[in-house]
């Protein structure tokens, strides 16, 4: 079985970014290669000038969810970008921006945080995913 875990990160809210970073970091800690493909709002969250900013939460969070997430952050839960940085240091985590989303958002790679390794198209993404699992968030 191909152990590579591929995550398509489409969503740009902090809760979903945190969920994706958790899945990526867990797989990396187990020694599995991880590929993250950034599309649309997921990609937009990796702008160099805004990666640690407030990206909001999914609509279903509501008042209760916002308070719970704020409390977790205050209690010292790691920021998703920090979790991804640690995962990259410890394992094989490759983060690629979707070239079509780059075009739509009028982004150049120099506009992105250096945590992003490169830009690729969907065919390259599938080839790199091989027979491994693909997770869409």
């Amino acid at each position: 079985m191909d152990e590579t875990v591929s995550i398509v990160l489409f969503s740009g809210t902090d809760d979903k970014l945190t969920a994706a970073a958790t899945l990526a970091a867990g797989a990396a800690a187990l020694g599995r290669p991880v590929k993250i493909f950034l599309q649309y709002w997921g990609l937009n969250a990796f702008r160099a000038d805004g990666i640690v900013g407030d990206h909001g939460l999914a609509p279903e969070a509501g008042e209760f969810g916002r308070a719970a997430v704020a409390a977790a952050a205050k209690a010292g839960q790691a920021h998703w970008a920090e979790t991804l940085r640690m995962a990259k240091e410890l394992g094989e985590v490759d983060i690629q921006a979707c070239s079509a989303s780059m075009e739509i958002l009028k982004l150049k790679q120099s506009d992105l945080d250096p945590i992003v390794d490169g830009v690729e198209g969907v065919a390259a993404f599938y080839i790199n995913a091989g027979e491994g699992q693909i997770i869409f968030i």
């Binding site: 958790t22 867990g26 800690a29 187990l30 010292g76 979790t83 410890l90």
Partner: protein, 78 residues
Amino acid sequence: MATQDIKLKVDASGLSCPLPILKATQGIKTLQSGELMEVVATDPGSVKDFAAWASSTGNALVEQDSANGKFRFVVRRK
């Protein structure tokens, strides 16, 4: 197990998933094969996580216990 056999102690108290296993991964890389690392965590999920992490990475979970909401794991590097 004599405490002096433990080469590295990692305190992952107060950290939520996936940080305890990330800290463990970070720590184990600094050890030589056969050396022991102790990790203390408060995340209740760490019990199943450390079992999974050990079996997947091949490092041996040689001891574990819990007391007062703390979970302690001793891992021997592969």
